[in-house]
Symmetry: C2
Subunit: 319 residues, 2 copies
């Protein structure tokens, strides 16, 4: 591939003149301009847009950190981010971290080294302090409540959303309530656990560790969950499930094993992805796609903002 | 943010000297070197890695074109590509096209302008001729049979895989066989259609257009498919379904409506994603994740290769 020096040589002009022509600057004679244009044609020179971006200090790339790509929640979040990125003429650089700290740091380092203009971290493993330290290099946006930090975010108040679901289940008469969660660390999960404990305390209900079932992220986790419930000494009569897919998996397994929903087990899920409507799941709707769109908008602004998105309980047939 | 000129000014040296220090070159006195290092510390200058990459002619970015991000097939393919990209220290730039030609062209143009080192197109809308024209700018890898072109690819022979499924269903006694498909254009879909027509012809079976159900991509498409079958005059007794998720949705809907699987309707799906095992689907296994890994390897090589991946029929309980 030819470079600017080759063009200059072929055109018989200086590198500066070639640069002026490429940048549509004045002070170049028509003769020289035409010579440069001919030389470009000859060498099929492609203007290196990296060089152009470099001179402007912009890459038009936005980093997106997700733990996994093949997960419906993150898939929909990326979808929302993508839709807006296309509109704004930005491209996404995908970082799949599998919750490994060094991979998340790699993304943050790319921001530091100006290889991306901003970074959206959809789910975080590094501490907030570490993330905050990178703000001087460009916007870093999180998908969790960051109201006590300088970090911008779009988030759902998971304490509130869990409380809505718990109170609803309680009003339906349930006193033994458990929940299924993906990762049990992470701000969002800690908020949910706090809501759960506060709820139990409020109604003077006992806490049983075994009623919290961890590592539930996919449809096919349903079987393990149902088996855990069957073996449980303090078997809950109702279950909060933080993902529609997992709830659908539980429902399918219960049908097979003759466990009647909601009589034997009430289920309330979260997200309201299309599968929830299809499986007639009672669910707490999360505006995941809209969150993705909002995250992208924040990534383009250099000002601090923390946006809470609201949730909505949708009653169907599983409670 | 400071640049190299600011450093030079603060250090009281030339820009060339700063550059030499940054690149660890010799011929810089200790005194000047220390002055530059102090100036860097003062200005918190971050070496612009874009500039470094630019000088090397590499971005360490690989473009990945998908129609949607929130689809289990493409999610798993991206997962496979990501795993290998991490190992090789490459980052992925995600292009979500929604099968719009101009978006795919944008990705190809980024290759042309050296903003990415290579491009993997997981599902294509532009013609093969258009794609081929971009090969002079870097590797473009496709996920379909390209053996009559100069384009590298990793692919499954969908003619063969469809034939395997059709012959299996035929041996089980079925004569009215339909199929569900996502997009009906595209090389992979055309191959499947050809296999279907050749199969019907071989066994002298009639072709009914209504036995091909289109736009089937998600779990929740199951309901529409089952309703279509119920209303169908030539209702098939067996169905090939090109995605496990869609097959799982059909199965769920059939259970609700009292349609017994496989007695009333036999189902054979494709991919063998985890949901297939969970729902006990008879399926033709596609090595999607491995295909993603292979695609990334090809993207890093500048030589033509076309790799066929083999498939495997897995017998479970739906045929």
């Amino acid at each position: 591939m030819s470079n600017i020096k080759d063009i200059a040589k072929i055109a018989g002009v200086s590198v500066t003149t070639v640069s002026r022509v490429l940048n549509n600057e004045r002070y170049v004679s028509d003769e020289k301009r035409n010579a440069v244009l001919r030389a470009i044609e000859i060498t099929k020179y492609q203007r290196n847009l990296n060089a152009v971006n470099l001179s402007k200090g912009k890459t038009h790339l936005i980093g997106v950190v997700v733990p996994y790509s093949n997960h419906p929640y993150f898939g929909l979040l990326i979808e929302g981010i993508s839709i807006e990125a296309i509109k704004k003429n930005y491209k996404l650089v995908l970082f799949q971290t599998d919750y490994q700290k060094e991979r998340e740091l790699e993304a943050l380092e790319m921001l530091k080294h100006k290889q991306i203009d901003s970074l959206i971290i959809c789910s975080r493993i590094c501490s907030l302090e570490v993330v905050e330290a990178y703000l001087e290099y460009g916007p870093v946006i999180l998908c969790e409540d960051t109201r006590n930090t300088r970090i911008s975010s779009t988030f759902v108040d998971h304490y509130k959303s869990f409380t809505i679901a718990l109170e609803y289940i309680y009003k339906k008469g349930h006193r033994k309530i458990g929940y299924c969660i993906g990762r049990s660390s992470g701000t969002n999960s800690l908020q949910r656990n706090l809501a759960y404990k506060d709820f139990l305390h409020k109604y003077n209900l006992p806490y049983h560790d075994e009623q919290i079932i961890k590592k539930c992220s996919y449809f096919e986790d349903g079987e393990r969950i149902v088996n855990t419930l069957i073996e449980s000494k303090n078997r809950p009569t109702a279950l909060l499930v933080t993902s529609d897919q997992v709830a659908a998996g539980i429902l399918t397994c219960c049908n097979e094993k003759g466990i009647v929903i909601p009589e034997d087990l009430a289920i309330i899920s979260f997200d309201n992805q299309p599968i929830a409507k299809y499986m007639k799941l009672t669910t707490v709707e999360m505006p995941i796609k809209e969150m993705g769109q909002k995250l992208l908008h924040q990534a383009l602004l250099n000002e601090q903002s923390q946006t809470e998105m609201s949730v909505k309980l949708i009653e169907r047939q599983t409670v």
